[in-house]
């Protein structure tokens, strides 16, 4: 761009842009305030001229310039800044269109800050880059400056972090481009650094970049190696710990560059240990297993816990919808089925405290589940509140939400419900778990106290926050009153008394609704409003009741229950929706006609015209939704020409076998690569060594000589002498005077049957890209190694498939086959397939094991859930699998099942037998535990 053509005075600047590019003109017009009517004419003319000129050079350059102007003008920047933007972009465009485009985009973010020093720093570094490096490669590193400077968060609360990160990154660029690096080093920088830095969490960018800069200054290659460690444990360090880690690493580097490199690239054991020692944060996957186990113990059934990142963004961020918590402040929530916990907690300076906080969050959220918060029933609540008006709210939403919509101030109503309900749960937990309440509510109260103190530093605490602290957390009312004006203090005491009267210690969540209704009836919402506006409460760690999540999790149950309720009421009977939902939850989504009859009959006395002893008659009701769907068709792969077997299947609906119902197809695995097997052995060499040793001990010693035996093959001479001496002395001699030679044998044959269903492709929490199947494969490798040591004959197979005529059975190693490279390659070739028709796979394995001559036969099944296939679900699948296991036992084959990657389930007891299965909720422990279980089973 060598020439600058201005827009003639007679021409409308927006019309000129529209003539050059109508789409861009429309976009600019939308971004400008009042379509540009209020913008000074000279600014508009410069914008139009620059946009049209740059469009002529290159379309993308023109778009970047047009949008840049629009953003600055729309953002209310003053004329000087906008003119400065034009000058800078024109100058950059003269270098090259690509450089101009990058600058046109990046300068917008810099000029928006209105910080001259920042602009100066950026221009200086971009100049240095131009001198050292090719334009084509400067785009990504330069563009990142703009991206880092954009504040994150819906309320732009991340402004200070963004500015600091921008400055830090400019410092890094300066450090890199002030060095004389090789072509390859510059390439490595532009190819790798911007991408990694962009992926740093916004709140951690600034200080991480600063530490990276310290290392880069010492040597670029050292910095490059250090950067890689952010994909590893270094990412767990907080600001102070990372600074200390880098300081230590650089000190080592100064003393001995090689040792320093090993330290800063986390290759030295001392570095890994230092990292572990220094880190304060705790990650979700570290607490997942202990918390799952704890919750299983407390509830007697599994409660799923997942990281908050598993929630879609729309649910993770509540700002603007219910006015309260944004994603950064929310540490836990619950949807009535799953407890979501923060991916990482680093609130406290000590790792133990952060670990305790995880426990406290899970503990309190579990309280909501235990006390039935999410089984809130609008009808029951209205009865309890004495409300008769039918709510004019959309059906299908969660009842808590529908209840809150009955009031003018929905957000306030939800906050009050949250406070009273948390209070009710607290009082219930205090009586059931006094020790736990003391520990965990104490921790939450402490956090709330410090928050209230900081609020008091800026003014007066709000009544709603004090009510939350007093009722939900059981805070000391005396201290709370100190932070309130006298009238507000009186109101707080009234509200606490109201809670004590209507809600504290009550069994059902509807009592919290009563308290909410009383507040609105008797006191009105005005006490919570400031000049007519309500500022939502700020619960500690963002702990709120989330009806939106409940709706998401139980939408199917809700609609089905609402439909049944409507049909029942059309027949003049009544049934509670929450009872139906509760039953469906208990029965894994199933609802039987008998359930409806029982529930309607038990509430019969409330029903119009019903007499004691009347039984609800379901005739005429459409209950087709209760039956299992049978619509899907079988998949019959006619192209298959391998070995097939047909097996019977147990049909729970007719209580009998369906003969020759299932077709099992033995499929071959190609297996061309042995690297997986080899790499697993290398990676797990420590464990392999331990396993070999442990299984050596299980190995029979051949002939064992038993001395001091009461009968045997020959005399034990030393015992004969003792016998003679005893006889002389008149004592009763021991009869154990023989030596017996026993041939010790382990006559055990084992079959490992592994689930290759689609779900095994799920990644394992906290293990990067590793999937459940990868871990299963590792377990197979170690299993082969161990069994080769002990000498037990073994087979390995996998199963999956689709439909009753397509059960695939993958033989990896048969009993008689040697443990050769073919087997090793086949393990590496295993891939996730489709469904889990477990009964058929077990029957095929029984058929294989039945031919083996061994005194004890063992079938070990590894699966990551319940059986599931087309027309093979829930009760049907469970009954058939149970039946197949019984068939195995009647064939003298012991069956032990290992279920991985789930928290455990009481239904597993029903499925596999009480002591015949193990749950490994952290699948990463499978390889180790599989062998321990095998050792225990055959010891």
């Amino acid at each position: 761009m060598t020439e600058f053509t201005p827009i003639p005075d007679t021409q409308d600047p927006m019309a000129a842009i529209a003539m050059a590019d109508p789409a861009l003109a429309r976009e600019i017009d939308e971004r400008l305030p009042r379509g540009g009517d209020d913008v000074p004419d000279d600014i508009l003319r410069q914008m139009a001229a620059d946009t049209i000129n740059t469009l002529a050079v290159e379309t993308s350059f023109g778009y970047a310039v047009g949008r840049g102007y629009a953003e600055l003008i729309g953002g209310g920047k003053d004329a000087d800044r906008i003119l400065q933007y034009g000058n800078l972009v024109r100058t950059a465009g003269q270098e090259s269109p690509a450089f101009g485009r990058t600058m046109a985009k990046t300068l917008v973010d810099i000029l928006k800050w209105g910080d001259d020093a920042l602009l100066k720093g950026f221009l200086a570094v971009s100049k240095a880059m131009k001198q050292k490096w090719l334009y084509a490669f400067t785009a990504a590193p330069l563009a990142l400056v703009g991206k880092l400077l954009r504040p994150t968060g819906p309320d732009r609360s991340g402004r200070p972090d963004a500015l600091e990160a921008g400055w830090a990154y400019i410092g890094l660029l300066d450090s890199v481009f002030s060095q004389d690096l090789t072509y390859n080093q510059y390439r490595r920088f532009t190819g790798r650094f911007p991408k990694m830095i962009r992926d740093f969490p916004p709140s951690k960018r600034a200080w991480r970049i600063k530490q990276l800069t310290r290392v880069v200054r010492r040597h670029f290659n050292l910095g490059s190696m250090f950067l890689d460690t952010f994909e590893d444990d270094v990412s767990l360090l907080d600001k102070e710990s990372l600074t200390a880690f880098v300081t230590e690493g650089l000190a080592r580097y100064d003393r001995d560059p090689e040792r320093g490199e090993r330290f800063l690239s986390l290759r030295a054991r001392s570095a890994i240990e230092a990292c572990d020692r220094m880190r304060k944060s705790v990650l979700f996957h570290e607490v997942q297993q202990p918390l799952s186990r704890y919750l299983q113990a407390r509830f007697g059934q599994p409660v799923t816990i997942r990281p908050l990142s598993a929630l879609p963004d729309v649910y993770a961020d509540m700002t603007g919808t219910d006015g309260g918590t944004d994603a950064r402040e929310m540490y836990a929530c619950c949807d009535g089925r799953t407890i979501y916990l923060a991916d990482e907690i680093d609130c406290h300076l000590q790792r133990d405290d952060n670990y305790r906080l995880y426990k406290a969050l899970a503990w309190t959220e579990a309280g909501l589940l235990e006390c039935g918060t999410y089984l809130f029933d609008l009808e029951r609540a209205m009865d309890a509140c004495g409300m008769t008006e039918t709510p004019d709210t959309p059906a299908g939403g969660a009842d808590i939400d529908r209840f809150c919509r009955l009031f003018d101030h929905r957000v306030l109503a939800l906050d009050l419900f949250t406070i009273f309900e948390h209070g009710r749960v607290r009082t219930r937990l205090e009586s059931t778990y006094p020790g736990g309440s003391l520990r965990f509510y104490g921790l939450l109260r402490k956090a709330m106290d410090s928050r209230l103190q900081s609020i008091r530093g800026q003014g007066q605490a709000t009544l709603i926050d004090c009510l939350y602290a007093g009722v939900s957390l059981g805070g000391d009312t005396g201290r709370l009153l100190k932070g309130l004006s006298s009238p507000a203090g009186d109101r707080l005491m009234d509200l606490i008394r109201l809670f004590e009267r209507h809600t504290a210690g009550r069994l059902t969540p509807e009592s919290s609704a009563v308290a909410v209704a009383r507040v609105f009836e008797m006191q009105g919402p005005d006490m919570f409003l400031d000049q007519g506006v309500y500022s939502p409460m700020t619960p500690v760690y963002g702990l709120r009741i989330r009806p939106d999540l409940f709706s998401r999790a139980f939408y199917g149950y809700e609609t089905r229950a609402a439909d049944i309720k409507q049909q029942v009421s059309q027949k003049g009977w009544q049934i509670y929706k929450s009872d139906l939902i509760r039953r469906m939850i208990e029965q894994g989504g199933l609802l039987y006609a008998s359930d409806i009859r029982e529930m309607a009959t038990s509430r019969g006395m409330d029903s119009e015209g019903a007499q004691p002893g009347d039984v609800f008659d379901m005739s005429g009701m459409d209950i087709s939704g209760l039956a299992h769907g049978q619509g899907e068709t079988d998949r019959n792969d006619d192209d298959f020409h391998g070995h097939t077997c047909r097996y019977r299947e147990w049909d729970a609906t007719i209580d009998d076998y369906l003969h020759d119902h299932v077709l099992v197809r033995e499929r071959d695995l190609a297996g061309e690569d042995m690297s997986f097997y080899r790499e697993t052995l290398e990676r797990r060499q420590g464990l392999v060594k331990k396993i070999r040793y442990a299984f050596e001990l299980l190995k029979p010693e051949g002939i064992s000589i038993l001395r001091k035996w009461p009968e045997g093959d020959e005399f034990d001479h030393s015992r004969l002498i003792a016998l003679a001496v005893d006889k002389r002395m008149g004592r009763t001699p021991s009869e154990r005077i023989y030596i017996k030679r026993l041939k010790k044998e382990r006559d055990v044959a084992v079959q490992l049957l592994v689930d290759f269903s689609r779900s095994t492709s799920n990644t394992v929490s906290g293990a990067g890209e590793k999937t459940v199947l990868d871990v299963e494969k590792e377990a197979m490798v170690l299993f082969c190694e161990a069994l080769s040591v002990v000498g037990d004959p073994f087979a390995i197979a996998g199963f999956s498939g689709t439909g009753r005529l397509g059960v695939d059975y993958f033989m990896i190693k048969s009993i008689g086959e040697d443990m050769d490279d073919g087997v090793r390659k086949r393990i590496g070739d295993v891939r996730p397939h489709r469904n889990t028709r477990m009964g058929a796979a077990i029957r095929h394995a029984i058929a294989g094991l039945g031919k083996v001559l061994a005194k004890s036969k063992l079938l070990i099944i590894i699966s990551d859930g319940f059986p599931n296939d087309i027309d093979y679900k829930r009760e049907y699948a469970m009954t058939d699998t149970r039946r197949a296991i019984l068939e195995a036992r009647s064939n003298n084959i012991a069956v032990h099942t290992i279920t991985v990657n789930i928290a455990g389930d009481a239904m597993l007891d029903d499925l596999y037998g009480k002591v015949r299965h193990s749950v490994i909720s952290n699948v990463r422990e499978l390889p180790d535990k599989l062998l321990r279980i095998y050792g225990r089973l055959t010891a």
């Binding site: 297993q289 202990p290 186990r293 704890y294 299983q296 113990a297 407390r298 509830f299 007697g300 059934q301 426990k359 778990y433 006094p434 020790g435 736990g436 520990r439 009461p710 005893d726 006889k727 008149g730 004592r731 009763t732 001699p733 009869e735 055990v748 004890s856 063992l858 012991a894 032990h896 455990g904 597993l908 007891d909 009480k914 002591v915 015949r916 299965h917 193990s918 749950v919 909720s921 225990r936 089973l937 055959t938 010891a939």
Partner: protein, 272 residues
């Protein structure tokens, strides 16, 4: 106390004090019915759920002496039947516990029978069918069982080793009674009775036991037994703080796994 024919007097084997036993179902009636026809009885159930106490209770209720044999791997046939011993330059025969029970018409209880070697347990087979006899090979004597003799074995299906499972030829000689941990109300009553502790603490201990049993398949093999709950209660009664008592009497005996220990301690700290 021995008689002149080197046999231990039956009085030594009577259960003199009535043992405390709280029935959880009709197990006592079933046992009595089996005893009436002298059918051998097998008691199945997890460790510490009250099998041994039940046998003592029944022996007392039926007024029969009780001979108990704790089974283990080194138990031999001669340990059960008897052996010759030297006494004052004489070789005399000394009955083993099984022979003693057979002669005196006692209830002979084999505790944890799967622990014994399979070639040892076959000796009981002739006593469990209509022969009701015991052949003493060293004496060449065929001993007919006393009309009141009853054989009882206990077996814990929680043993997971496939190699230690009970043989069908042995299993199918017994009437089987299944035992499990008592329900919460009964278990509370048992803990109170056996330890003398207050009801509120007993209730918490029973709640704790129930919760621990919920994570049995997470590596515990078996949950906290009623016996362990009673031990904890006794320690509390003796003045040990509840958390310490539970740790020592319940958490530590159940597992060595640190992760599991942490969960158990969390449960204890929730309740106390």
């Amino acid at each position: 106390m021995e008689t002149k024919n080197n046999r231990i007097a039956a009085e030594n084997f009577y259960v003199t004090e009535p043992p405390y036993y709280l029935a959880s179902g009709n197990e006592a009636d079933l046992f009595e019915a089996a005893y009436k026809d002298r059918l051998p009885v097998m008691l199945k159930g997890p460790t510490g759920c009250g099998k041994t106490r039940f046998v003592e209770y029944m022996a007392h209720r039926l007024g029969r002496p009780l001979v108990t044999v704790a089974c283990h791997e080194d138990l031999f046939v001669s340990d059960l039947i008897g052996r010759y011993i030297l006494k004052n330059d004489e070789t005399i025969w000394m009955d083993g516990p099984l022979t003693t029970a057979v002669r005196m018409g006692a209830v002979c209880y084999f505790d944890e029978i799967v622990e014994a070697r399979k070639d040892t347990t076959v000796v009981i087979h002739p006593l469990t069918d209509d022969r009701r006899s015991l052949y003493i090979d060293k004496k060449g004597e065929m001993l007919r069982a006393h009309p009141d003799f009853l054989l009882v074995v206990s077996y814990n299906p929680g043993y997971q080793s496939v190699l230690k499972d009970m043989k069908q030829s042995t299993r199918q000689r017994f009437v089987s009674l299944a035992f499990d941990y008592p329900d919460a109300a009964n278990e509370k009553q048992i803990v109170v009775q056996e330890s003398g502790i207050d009801t509120a603490t007993a209730e918490k201990l029973v709640t704790l036991g129930g919760k621990i049993r919920n994570i049995r398949e997470h590596g515990l093999t078996e949950g906290a037994s009623t016996r362990l709950l009673i031990y904890a209660a006794r320690m509390v009664k003796a003045g040990v703080p509840a958390v310490d008592a539970c740790r020592a009497a319940i958490c530590m005996p159940l597992t060595d796994d640190e992760g599991l220990q942490e969960t158990l301690e969390d449960l204890v700290k929730d309740l106390f």
